[in-house]
């Protein structure tokens, strides 16, 4: 047996900052698995998702929350993310097993770094970096968008009245955190 073991260190692990009543937290053990719908077998894949998670695959730009807390985000016509809490590095296998081969799955857990922004000034802070209209009438709870913030590709999901989950590339997580922190301190 190899005598070595590996300790994980996610780039933003432990981040928990509060500025102007608004909190920025890196959620722990977040797993992300992409689900691609096979061409010509989309219906079967959608059915498998419904069976596996108990909720339908949402429309593009929306997300739905499964009973077990997994969030399914539809990124495009043939692509969705399943985002759920799962500490071990086998998230893709878990989702693949539940979908029973009805869709193509890829582990995206380590591709992304996530930050949860919540509080009364969340939207005002995002105004400085997010080109998407986040007005409640335009971006309802559960809505999602893939866009660009401070030159970084970002997935934004509105998770509550004043709460957003932001996901960006893990290699540039430090710059991403800096961008959001700067936005918060600039409105403070």
């Amino acid at each position: 047996m190899p005598e070595y073991s590996l300790t994980p260190a996610a780039p933003l692990a432990g981040t928990d900052i509060t500025i102007v009543d608004t909190r920025l937290v890196a959620p722990a053990d977040l797993a992300v698995v992409s689900v691609a719908l096979p061409l010509g077998a989309e219906k079967a894949a959608e059915k498998a998702i419904k069976t596996a998670f108990g909720v339908a695959l949402p429309e593009v730009g929306k997300s739905s929350l499964a009973k077990d807390g997994a969030r399914i985000v539809r990124l495009g016509s043939d692509l969705a993310f399943v985002i759920f809490t799962h500490p071990t590095p086998d998230a893709e296998r878990v989702v693949a097993a539940r979908l029973k081969g009805a869709a193509y799955t890829t582990d995206q857990t380590d591709v992304w770094a996530a930050l949860d922004l919540s509080g009364p000034n969340a939207r005002r802070a995002l105004e400085r970096i997010c080109p998407i209209d986040l007005h409640p009438d335009a971006f309802a709870v559960g809505d999602s968008a893939r866009t660009m913030m401070e030159h970084l590709g970002t997935l934004i999901i509105r998770t509550g009245d004043d709460a957003y989950r932001l996901m960006s590339g893990s290699s540039s997580a430090g710059s991403f955190l800096h961008a959001i922190e700067t936005s918060l301190s600039n409105i403070a």
């Binding site: 190899p2 994980p8 780039p11 691609a36 692509l79 080109p131 290699s171 430090g174």
Partner: protein, 982 residues
């Protein structure tokens, strides 16, 4: 100095006093003052020197159109030149300096240029400094630079921070005067999302400067009530100190918000914010700008626009003079006289160019009809004016009104052209407005208060109705249609002295006439020849009178003469605001490799590769330069084992029933038959046959491939693959997703690579050469169960693997590999050693795939399949692409082994002259090979593959070097490939 010109009323807070300095002299004002109103209150009439002639100048306007009163604000690194005193909010401790003079403001040594003015007329620079040509750079330009220009930069880094942001709305209302307030109220009450932006710090526009009533109360009070109502609406955002400076495509507007310019300190917060406003509709209610009349010496301190004089009296409680005459061609000028007299200021005369009855009763003022001002006296401050009939009137201020120009600027930002209206002698917005924009109020030529309010309501209603909101029917507040008759009158012909048009760039009536005489017929040429309207104020007060004079000269009408094009920005936008946060280390985001922390702790020097920071080498104590480190890393790797973080290579997960067929189309070589568990090198071509990118692709299962791209092209290749999948072969079942950031990938290279990995990879996996040969791949586990991928590929030419673990384990993995590798003296290596080893091995990289080379040039011509459909293979067959004497990639070594090859050198056959005609090719990559102990190079040379052993010359005119080099195989190390198959 005391506030000798302070009079009653105004919207200043007299209970508080604010101290400031002008040219080091302490003065006092009140909150609510601008720097200009406070200077006038203190009797400071002379505030600057003009650009070209260094003429003494005073405050001319009360707004952002100001051409004269440009000052330097603040001290030290915070110093900002060319700010307009008329829009600078006064704060306690403000320091302002006049600019553009040598010596004191009162005694500017450069004022001598004014006496040289006969020689400095239009086109002077063009005519004078053309020859001798050599004099330009050394003599003329430095002298001109020194004498011209306005304020000075601090030459220090800007200590302020700036930000940007995005706003969205149904209706953007630009300008918060009566029209804009009415529009915002109308849309806001109907429930639309409204942004109301105004450049001023107090919203209300002219209502704050006039004595007109709205809804039975003072206009300024009505404005305050309207603002209270608007501020209470959740759907309305009020933005004071915010200039909407540009109208861009599809309802996008640029706006600059000045957040802390009115405060003594920014306190670390953004000083200004550049907003990108996305609107569904917009109402331009930007009002109008008054224009002057040109006459002799009309640029003296004390000659001001009449509406501005009124602003100072009504809004700021300041009179610009004790004896104020009015010179007007319209009814509006009379209101200045009336308002001043009502405040107790003496108005000796109203000089009206028209032969008409008095507009209103102004006690104490003589009404002089059918007359004009021909000259003025008072170099540093107006003393008297001389009229056309020769009479002299002693005054210290002359309020001039030549009529009002609707602020059409933003309507023209998408090449719309304004149209002329004779009844108001002004341009109004044309029909081709930016889509989504409507214009209301004075900006639209509705010149009375009642008309402005009505238009604000009706235009806003039309705009929101188009968005599906129900228009409101609220009563329109009562207001009057005040008299506003105006006749076209642009300059006093009887004047023999210079009459100024563009005060900031010192362009006179004479200059316009002269440029016409010299043949400049187009208004665009006039502008560039005279520099009219090209200063920081963009000729807001100058352009129309100059056009009128141009029209007079040509015998055309003003609309026939036309206007120059208005372009963004409406008023200057600081570079700092345009840059926003993108400066210094925050210029762009950084990407860190998973082992970054380990590398930092272990002495890595980092290099920027795109956005990535990669370890370039790992210096050890005692090493005197980077070469020491790199040579050691190469030798240690080739001798035992080295480890390099190669995460930055692009990784694309390719899945689907048609994945293999898809790869077969995007790569030039075959991929359909790649076995599961095997890796293949792939070459991508552009459609024109030029090599695009290369990398290895591994077949993980029947329908699952993992592609790698070069670091530089990761994003571009992904884009191309999506294009191929969606646009070229849309019915293929193939799915792409990037996993570049997801896997920490390490090259483990060298004779002991397998022995090292054996200690890390879990025992269940057979790593023997038979079970896991060169170009094998597979999923494994490492360190007791952590999932990993293993690829037996080699860039260095050694026995090598790349092992990938989920990125969160990357830093730990590097640590483990180094611990496990201790017994083999495992060495971390950086991008330099990586580069040296690939050159030693003869692998092409970015320098070789440079967008000019084909597979044929790279020696990979046979790889390009002609038996399948793939990108690039058809045009590859063009004769020119396959010519026999094409350059080929080969290796080079210096004949004198002591010499270092130079990349970029061109090859010349021995005996030929070093000229382009004899060019044989170029050296693309060079390195010192510690393995061979001499310099090695890769390069392209004609027929290279058939010229082994030939000596040619490598010439670099850039470096002034030439050396003899020998053509050799590009594979300096292990040409048979025994090592990597070991």
């Amino acid at each position: 100095m005391s506030q000798i010109n302070r009079i009653s009323g105004g919207q200043i807070d007299r209970a508080q006093e604010v101290k400031f300095t002008f040219n080091g002299k302490w003065m006092r004002g009140h909150p609510g003052d601008t720097l200009a109103s406070a200077l006038l209150a203190n009797g400071q009439r002379l505030v600057g020197r003009s650009f070209k002639y260094h003429r003494p100048r005073g405050i001319f306007t009360a707004g952002s159109e100001e051409p004269n009163a440009l000052v330097e604000l603040r001290n030290g690194a915070h110093q900002e030149p060319n700010t307009r005193a008329t829009v600078t909010e006064l704060f306690d401790g403000l320091h302002a300096k006049s600019q553009n003079h040598r010596g004191s403001l009162e005694h500017d040594m450069m004022a001598v240029t004014d006496f040289m003015s006969p020689f400095l007329s239009a086109g002077f620079y063009y005519k004078t400094f053309m020859w001798p040509r050599a004099f330009w750079e050394k003599l003329y330009e430095p002298i001109i630079r020194k004498s011209a220009g306005l304020g000075r930069l601090s030459m220090q880094e800007d200590p302020d921070v700036y930000d940007k942001g995005y706003l969205h709305c149904d209706l953007l209302v630009i300008g918060a005067g009566p029209t804009g307030l009415m529009a915002a109220l109308t849309a806001g009450r109907a429930g639309a999302r409204v942004i109301l932006a105004d450049e001023d710090f107090t919203l209300g526009g002219r209502l704050n400067s006039e004595t007109l009533e709205v809804g039975g109360m003072a206009g300024a009070d009505w404005a305050k009530e309207a603002l209270v109502e608007l501020a209470a609406m959740d759907n309305v955002r009020l933005m004071a100190r915010t200039t909407v400076y540009g109208a861009y495509d599809h309802g996008v507007y640029g706006a600059l918000e000045r957040c802390t310019d009115h405060l003594a300190s920014s306190d670390g917060k953004p000083r200004q914010i550049l907003w990108r406003v996305t609107s569904k509709r917009a109402v331009l209610s930007a009002g109008a700008t008054e224009r002057p009349i040109a006459f002799g010496n009309n640029d003296r301190p004390g000659v001001m626009l009449a509406g501005s004089v009124r602003s100072y009296a009504n809004r700021y409680g300041v009179t610009p003079g004790q004896q104020v005459a009015v010179f007007t061609n319209n009814d509006d000028g009379w209101r200045t006289a009336a308002d001043l007299v009502a405040k107790g200021v003496h108005v000796p005369a109203i000089i009206d160019v028209r032969d008409a009855a008095a507009v209103c009763d102004v006690p104490g003022a003589r009404h002089i009809r059918n007359a004009g001002v021909v000259d003025t006296v008072g170099r540093k401050g107006l003393k008297s004016v001389t009229l056309t009939d020769g009479q002299v009137i002693p005054v210290d201020c002359l309020a001039v009104s030549g009529g009002w120009n609707p602020n059409v600027h933003l309507t023209c930002h998408q090449r719309g052209r304004p149209t002329w209206r004779d009844d108001i002698s002004a341009f109004v917005p044309g029909r081709d407005l930016p889509p989504g924009m409507a214009v209301a109020g004075a900006a639209n030529g509705a010149m009375t208060l009642a008309a402005a309010l009505a238009e604000g309501q009706s235009v806003a209603n039309a705009q929101i109705e188009a968005l599906g909101y129900k228009p409101g029917k609220a009563d329109l507040p009562r207001a009057e249609d005040e008299p506003c008759d105006c006749v076209p009158y642009w300059h006093v012909r009887e004047s023999t002295k210079r009459g100024w048009l563009d005060l900031q760039n010192d362009v006179t009536v004479k200059d316009v006439k002269q440029s016409h005489r010299e043949g400049f017929r187009s208004v665009e040429h006039l502008k560039r020849y005279t520099t009219l309207g090209m200063a920081t104020d963009q000729g807001k007060t100058a352009n129309i009178p100059a056009l009128a004079i141009m029209a007079e000269c040509t015998g055309k009408t003003i609309p026939e003469t036309g206007t120059t094009i208005f372009r963004p920005p409406y008023t200057p936008v600081p570079i700092g605001a345009l840059g926003g946060r993108s400066r210094g280390r925050d210029f762009r985001p950084y990407r860190l490799t998973p082992s970054h922390v380990w590398a930092k702790e272990n002495g890595a020097t980092f290099v920027e590769v795109g956005n990535w920071l990669r370890a370039q080498w790992f210096a050890r104590p005692g090493e005197t330069g980077w070469r020491d480190s790199v040579d050691r890393e190469v030798l240690a790797t080739r001798k035992s084992v080295g480890i390099c973080d190669v995460t930055t290579l692009g990784k694309i997960d390719v899945q689907g029933k048609d994945a293999a067929a898809f790869l077969n189309k995007v790569y030039a070589n075959g991929f359909a038959k790649l076995a599961v568990g095997r890796v293949r090198y792939g070459l991508m071509l552009r459609e024109d046959g030029i090599a695009y990118d290369d990398g290895t692709t591994a077949r993980m299962s029947e329908n699952h491939f993992v592609m790698t791209t070069t670091t530089a092209n990761a994003v571009l290749v992904f884009r191309r693959l999506e294009f191929a999948r969606q646009c070229l072969w849309p019915d293929m079942d193939v799915h792409l997703i990037s996993t570049t950031d997801g896997w920490a990938q390490f090259a483990v290279a060298g004779p002991n690579a397998r022995n090292l990995l054996r200690k890390v990879v879990d025992e269940a996996h057979d790593l023997s050469n038979e079970a896991f040969p060169f170009m094998a791949c597979g999923e494994v586990t490492v360190c007791n169960g952590t999932p990993a991928r293993l690829f037996r590929i080699s860039f260095s030419g050694e026995l090598a693997y790349e092992v990938a673990v989920p990125a969160r384990y990357g830093n730990a993995m590097m640590d483990v590999l180094m611990q496990a590798g201790q017994e083999f003296d495992a060495t971390p290596y950086g991008t330099e050693a990586l580069g040296v080893m690939r050159i030693e091995k003869g692998h092409a990289a970015g320098n070789e795939l440079n967008g000019q080379t084909t597979a044929h040039n790279l020696g990979m011509g046979k790889m390009v399949s002609q038996t399948k459909e793939c990108i690039g293979n058809v045009l590859t067959q063009r004769p020119e692409m396959l010519r026999e004497d094409a350059v080929k990639l080969v290796g080079f070594r210096p004949v004198d082994r002591e010499r270092g090859l130079i990349a970029g050198s061109h090859f010349i056959t021995k005996g030929d002259a070093a000229s382009m005609d004899n060019d044989q090719g170029w050296m693309s990559s060079v390195a010192y090979s510690p393995s061979l102990e001499h310099s090695v190079g890769l390069g392209f040379i004609k027929n290279g593959d058939t010229r082994m052993g030939e000596i040619v010359r490598a010439v670099s005119p850039v470096h002034g070097t030439e050396m003899e080099v020998e053509i050799v195989s590009a594979h300096f190390i292990d040409p048979a490939g025994d090592r990597l198959r070991a």
